[in-house]
């Protein structure tokens, strides 16, 4: 089942007019493009993280997939259908949560969900479970949406995107505005969807969230794909921060495989970065009198920042 491609892009490129070039590709065959030659494949049943700094091309990609934008070059398919030719058919099977979602605020939450389900043309089979998970009760739903807090609006946004049980959910910053408890409830919803074989295309800035929920991630910068990896490979590759205190002669760490950025202090403290196999490091410190040792994994944020940094 995991071999079926839900999203497939080949050389997908979007070039706006000159006015929008400030957020665009700065070099390569498509200078000025908001998105250049994107090649990604999202498989059925996976949660795919789509990451990048502001203006990197994340929203442009999502809007191309949903038919809001027309590609300048390249092709893409969603659920086996061409994004240009079959956009309506694609949207019939997709749920979408835009970033910073806006609603018809004069409607009650209940009415809004009803009307959006009617517009989707599919019964809201997951609505009750989602309301329960996200703790939106009847009293709240009977109030006009304009009275809702930021977090309540976000819950409503998640429900409207998932209530008709779409085959593919495209979620742009889905946990924005949710408190930690509701974030956890949202992750449980994602786990359930994954268990049911649904596919999630997930844009987020919260890296701990990406680490928690995503199977694979793509990282875009300046409109170009800079990494596409399994989340576990990405985490395995991350460097660890090592801090130790030694008495007597400090170990010689320079030149040890996987060790970098060695720093020494006068009081016997020593820090470095460790990547890959730890055995050479352990062998290097074996002859020293180590009185304190801490090895912490670098945060996922640091891994991503390596990709985000300008070359």
């Amino acid at each position: 089942m995991d071999d079926v491609d839900v999203i497939e892009t080949h050389g997908l490129t979007k070039q706006y007019g000159a006015r929008r070039a400030s957020t665009a590709v700065v070099a390569g065959p498509w200078p000025g493009a908001a998105l250049a030659e994107l090649d990604i494949v999202v498989r059925e049943g996976e949660i795919f993280g789509f990451l990048g700094p502001n203006g990197a091309g994340k929203s442009t990609t999502i809007r191309l997939l949903l038919g809001f934008l027309h590609p300048t070059a390249g092709q893409a398919s969603v659920l086996g259908r061409d994004i240009e030719r079959d956009s309506v058919e694609i949207r019939r099977r997709v749920g979408y949560l835009p970033g910073g979602i806006a609603f018809w605020d004069n409607l009650t939450g209940e009415r809004l969900l009803y009307e959006l389900a009617a517009l989707s043309g599919r019964p809201p089979v997951r609505r009750a479970a989602l309301l329960d998970h996200l703790e939106l009760d009847g009293d709240t739903l009977r109030r006009p949406v304009r009275t809702y807090s930021r977090g309540m609006r976000q819950k409503l946004g998640i429900i409207q995107a998932l209530q008709h049980d779409p085959d593919l959910a495209i979620l742009d910053e889905p946990s924005e505005g949710l408190d930690p408890l509701m974030q956890r409830a949202f992750y449980e919803i994602l786990d359930e969807l994954r268990g049911a074989g649904r596919t999630i295309f997930f844009s987020s800035h919260i890296l701990s969230e990406v680490e928690r929920v995503c199977d694979r991630v793509a990282i875009v910068r300046h409109g170009r794909l800079v990494a596409l990896e399994d989340i576990h490979s990405l985490l395995a590759r991350r460097k660890r921060n090592v801090e130790m205190r030694v008495e007597g002669e400090p170990p010689i760490l320079e030149g040890v495989p996987g060790i970098s950025d060695v720093r020494r202090a006068a009081d016997g403290r020593l820090s470095c970065r460790l990547e890959g196999d730890v055995s050479p490091f352990l062998e290097a410190i074996a002859g020293s009198h180590v009185v304190d040792l801490t090895i912490e994994p670098a945060s996922l944020e640091e891994v991503f920042l390596e990709f985000y940094e300008d070359v």
Partner: protein
Amino acid sequence: MNRALFLHTWRANWVRLLIVAIALAAWGSVLPIIYNAFGSQFRQLMESGAIPRQLAEFGGGDVFTLTGSVALGFIHPLSVGLNLVFAVGFAAACIAGERQRGTLEILLARPISRRVAYGTLALSAALFVGLTVGALTLGAYLGSAVTGRLAELGVGNLPILWLNGTLLFGAFAAISLGASATFDRLSPAIGVSLAVVLVSYFLDVLGQLWPDAAGLQPLSLFHYLDARADLAGLPAWGDFAVLAAVIAAAVAYALTVFPRRDLAAPS
């Protein structure tokens, strides 16, 4: 047409529609009552030459015949303004306004093509305009009936007047919808639509009051509404065709432009 979008649009607008329709029906009934009360005095005043004929027959209407007073009711700035609540207010906002608010996102994320969305909104606008012009026409009928002057009105020709009025305000609605489909923000859509209406009204009034400017009147859409001729059973079908052609051109423009536009993320 998308039924769910159609129902959503009606639910969102029915209260405003009701208020505007009641106001137009009331206005439509007032002028026959004024004619009934003061028509003969106005006629004497007119025949005395105290009022220039151009002013006394503003917009093809007058208050010293029943058909003239009904015609005046159709072209008066008050009824024009009320009819524009939907012909411009609704039509210019239904795409550009949703886009500005960000709600077009959740609509077009549904399985609705832009052509179908436009067609549904255009149909809604047409029905709103038809109902508001219908309320004005009904008011004229009721005002004439209350004053016992129905025989002077030519009731059988009221549908022709309704059709002519609906085509006029339908043309403004089609132009406004075209502007709405073109812009990302509401203000330029409203601005273009109101500019068309105001220039049109100005040219028509100028042509009526100043004989040397009469040649400008065919450039005005208001020129193609002749309520008195409609009520006399002598409609200028060519005028109807001109208004229908304007609607067709505006619809064709919007159906070409809207689906091809890039809808970038709201800023």
